[in-house]
């Protein structure tokens, strides 16, 4: 399975995201913001960082990068896309996910290990978790406060689209402790904390982050098997 990791000017965590996908067993393809070609990847990670220097708003310029035009179309067609931190901000700016990420309520950049409770365990990026599972991965953001209108928040809850919530402390004031959400189809996931920093004992607080990357491989293997079965019946 080929997982693409996009590098924008100002991306920081593209290297770690690529490494995490590789450790999970993926063949990693590095994608460049200026190249609209996805080079045949089966899934895409939008990494953390400060794309285009956070000019205007976090993710606002990246959303119009040539590679994003292709990714937006492909995501609407079912391509698994995971946005981490700045990647989550880009997905919201691209309207692939509802809501917006705003300045942390306390105005401080927050960098620490953070407990989350996984809720939507059926997405392309979380199927290796169980609903209710508690995981520990690093959070590091200055603009991670998730906001949306009440109607949108209620819909996210009702439709089971909250991927993870902060527990044992909300690091940025996010409404309803939301750390990550998914689209209706479950192929697009945005998460503020950084699973790619929790994949190795040497550098991470846990190995919990690896589940996001093994999940997409599982989802793709399932889709591929379905395709083969469908093909065999023809």
């Amino acid at each position: 399975m080929r997982i693409g990791v996009v590098t924008f000017p100002g991306s920081l965590d593209d290297g770690d995201a690529a490494r995490a996908a590789r450790i999970a067993g993926a063949e990693v393809v590095r994608l460049w913001h200026g190249d609209p070609d996805l080079h045949g990847v089966d899934g895409v990670v939008l990494p953390g960082g400060f794309s285009y220097g956070d000019a205007l708003r976090c993710g606002a310029i990246a959303r119009f990068a040539p590679v994003m035009e292709t990714i937006i179309d492909a995501a609407r067609g079912g391509l698994p896309v995971l946005g981490i931190c700045n990647g989550f901000q880009i997905l919201c700016e691209a309207h692939l996910l509802p809501g917006a990420l705003t300045r942390n309520q306390h105005l401080h950049f927050r960098n620490r290990d953070q407990w989350l409770r996984v809720e939507a365990a059926g997405t392309a990026w979380t199927n290796r978790f169980t609903a209710g599972q508690e995981i520990l991965i690093p959070v590091k953001n200055g603009e991670g406060c998730f906001v949306a209108d009440e109607k949108t928040l209620d819909a996210l809850e009702a439709e089971g689209r909250i991927v993870a919530r902060y527990i044992r402390g909300n690091p940025n004031g996010s409404q309803r402790d939301i750390a990550g959400i998914t689209n209706e189809a479950g192929n697009v996931v945005g998460i503020m904390p950084h699973p790619e920093h929790a994949v190795e004992a040497l550098t991470g607080p846990s190995l919990d982050g690896l589940g996001f990357f093994t999940s997409v491989l599982q989802a793709l293997a399932g889709a591929s098997a379905d395709g083969q079965r469908a093909g065999g019946q023809q």
């Binding site: 205007l56 119009f64 919201c92 705003t102 942390n104 309520q105 105005l107 906001v147 209108d149 004031g173």
Partner: protein, 85 residues
């Protein structure tokens, strides 16, 4: 020069922690009669030809403002007046 000014503000229901921080700092200046501060962004767009408000609105809606959390207003300003200001 044809200048359009776009003012972008957080929607009233969106918390503005920067504005709150400024408001909390005002008593240190001896200012005690301010009840609220909200911080927005002013963007000046210079058109090569005639100022085009519809075009400016399109730019604001697609890029300059995030309609999920922000409102915007566009207006034409006299370049000369803007220079003086």
């Amino acid at each position: 020069m044809a200048r359009v000014v776009v003012d972008v503000m957080l929607k009233p229901e969106i918390l503005d922690p920067q504005g709150q921080a400024v408001a909390k700092a005002l008593p240190r200046l001896g200012v005690t009669d301010v009840s609220s501060v909200r911080i927005g962004r002013r963007i000046e767009i210079d058109f090569a030809g005639e100022p085009d408000l519809d075009r400016a609105r399109e730019i604001a809606d697609k890029l300059l403002a995030n309609p999920v959390i922000e409102d915007f207003e566009v207006r034409i300003v006299e370049a000369a007046a803007a220079e003086v200001a």
